[in-house]
Symmetry: C2
Subunit: 267 residues, 2 copies
Amino acid sequence: MTRHQLVVEIKEKKSYLCVGLDTDISKIPTHLLSEPDPVFSFNKEIIDATRDLCVSYKINTAFYEAQGLKGWAAMEKTVQFIGDHHFKIADAKRGDIGNTSNQYAKAFFEAMPFDAVTVAPYMGADSVKPFLQHKGKWAIVLGLTSNEGAQDFEMLHTGGEFLYEKVIEKVAEWGSSENLMFVIGATQAEAFESIRKLVPDHFFLVPGVGAQGGSLESISKIAMTKDIGILVNVSRSIIYASAEVDFAEKARNEAFAIQQEMEKYLP
Amino acid sequence: MTRHQLVVEIKEKKSYLCVGLDTDISKIPTHLLSEPDPVFSFNKEIIDATRDLCVSYKINTAFYEAQGLKGWAAMEKTVQFIGDHHFKIADAKRGDIGNTSNQYAKAFFEAMPFDAVTVAPYMGADSVKPFLQHKGKWAIVLGLTSNEGAQDFEMLHTGGEFLYEKVIEKVAEWGSSENLMFVIGATQAEAFESIRKLVPDHFFLVPGVGAQGGSLESISKIAMTKDIGILVNVSRSIIYASAEVDFAEKARNEAFAIQQEMEKYLP
């Protein structure tokens, strides 16, 4: 999906919501456990209940890998099921030497039809660039994350700047706002303003609203651009809104409330 | 596998070789392509030809993920096939917020019987610690990698030290030499001495000998401890020593030459 298509989707749906499919088999409604593929059945209902309210789905690969082969199968079926009208993110935090990152890009962009992969920047240029060589595909590189551990290294001072600022500036040289986004955690509201100055045109993927406590209003006011420029991910508070048979309906209600709030912040 | 067991294996086999199974279906001998699972067939022959010469196998997960579901199946079969007498590393470069890293630990330590996972440190404590909570299992955290991109961030100056030094010192506080190793690239020989001072007891997983040009002699002389303390990974020059039917025999010859050289450096 191109940047232009994504912006059109956002404006039509009046939503910059990304629904996070961190599907944990121990948390899904028990009536689904008798299905042949409970995780996929769960995802299917969540997706059908939220399609018109979000522009993106983010699959957290860890939850699928933890289920072994059947988890990987559920991931493949889920990304296929989402279809072509949503921006499909593999939240995989990959990154390795060039020939290995190439293989990860193949895994998510060729073997599966994801639009984007989240990428860890520690290993530098050759670990990130292979994800930028696929037409219409994206690397979403970790900038400043939403977790407590962000303080350990991301916020180290290095030559008058934080490490995360150096990372964002450097990585921005390797791609453009057409194939590169950054992960900026919603819990880091005070940093959004300076980050937006560093990369005025890039989209941010923003986790941390909801279960982790970030404010949708703050980050929307600070980080939004004329092309919107933010995708806000919400996972647990949507997909686990209910553990009963009404889970999809309750997920929709939750996604609808978020979409309605987003509509207020859109220009 | 415990540290003690690993050291015993090294001393018995007079080898600290880790064979890297970066198995690329486009590079394996063509006669294997008619097998039901060519990647697993290839790995099986490589493993049987090198078992007595190495103490560890490292599976580069990217090459398996690039093949989709059948790749993941080949990985599961391969790690099972290796058995309990080798230190089995998932070279996966994972790392995410705590509840997600937990799932990755489950994937590699519970759903599959790996002994260790390579972990990217960028996201800090909560992204690394979940890999340290499993008895007898290891996190192998990226310190200073062998690739050119290591210069971009790992070698940034931060408060009188390189970032990789800060990472190694900080991460070492989260575990012990019984559950934590570091990845230090063989191409970084000049840095090994100071890194060894920072963490005198930890094992290093050392890639970059062979195809990437690092010297086995240099790193062995500089980094070896009384408990050996290094696992040297060699992938391509062993597993692709021949593309013909004699590939396993040629792989063995290559692994044997390396083991013989290692024997010279051992105390």
